[in-house]
């Protein structure tokens, strides 16, 4: 899995391309923690190219959400693909991790 980020006007967009599994989950957590430490507390995780997520990956997203909120911000997810959507719904975590069609929309009404 490859991570990248870009600071936009009102948020930082993190891209996580590949499989978000027990191997990459700790790396996502570390990556987002660094982005928050760099001064961005409004995070959008763009999952457009995240073809797969398991419960470890879900746990990492929840950890990142908590870290962003502890820093006074929030974390939202965007461009969720079918397998990720399925895992979010089956675990009822779609109610906790707010999903938007695109990264641009995630904080557009704040």
């Amino acid at each position: 899995m490859e991570f990248s980020y870009e600071v936009r006007d009102s948020y930082a967009e993190v891209k996580a391309d590949g499989r978000l599994n027990m191997v990459s989950a700790p790396k996502l957590r570390e990556f987002v923690t660094d982005v928050i430490a760099g001064g961005s507390n409004r995070i959008v995780v763009n999952l457009e190219n995240t073809a797969f997520m398991d419960s470890s990956g879900l746990g990492a997203l929840i950890g990142c959400l908590k870290a962003a909120r502890q820093a006074g911000g929030d974390l939202r997810i965007a461009a969720v693909q079918p397998q990720v959507k399925m895992v979010l719904e089956l675990t009822s975590m779609d109610r906790v991790l707010t999903s938007y069609a695109s990264a641009e929309e995630a904080f557009s009404n704040d």
Binding site: V23, F52, S55
Partner: protein
């Protein structure tokens, strides 16, 4: 017993690398079995990876030998079956029943997710090997 239309097997040390290998095996299996619907491929892949990851994360060796992970997957006309095994492993520790963690918990959803994804989950222990057998009846 109906005939096997496609299959894959993996056996190796229960490490993180094994998870990526098993996922690659699953991806190539679906290329051999394109008649399996996308939803079945997606759910079964997720269940197998969850089960294998559970072994990598939690299985403890019973003796000197390290825990090995084995996955045998078969595609039959109306059934997907995977045997996910931990060799040289102690019996699983802790609850075998899935719990419902708090909303902000960062772990503990794997077992419930597996149960939601497949039709049956059974557990066998024999000669120091723990095996989870997952089946999913294909959607026709």
């Amino acid at each position: 017993m109906t005939r096997v239309l496609a299959s894959r097997s993996f056996r190796g040390l229960a490490t993180e690398d094994a998870i990526e290998s098993i996922h690659n095996h699953l991806d190539s299996l679906w290329l051999d079995a394109p008649f399996v619907q996308d939803m079945d491929q997606m759910t079964f892949t997720t269940a197998v990876i969850e089960s294998a990851s559970n072994i990598v994360q939690h299985a403890e060796p019973v003796g000197q030998d390290p825990v090995e992970l084995g996955v045998d997957i078969e595609v039959r006309p109306t059934l997907l079956q995977a045997r996910v095994s931990a060799y040289h492993a102690k019996p699983p520790f802790g609850p075998m029943e899935p719990g419902i963690p708090d909303e902000d918990a960062e772990s503990g959803r794997g077992l419930a997710l597996i149960e939601a994804l497949v039709t049956t989950v059974t557990f066998e222990r024999q000669d120091g090997t723990n095996t989870w057998v997952l089946t999913r009846s294909s959607q026709d």
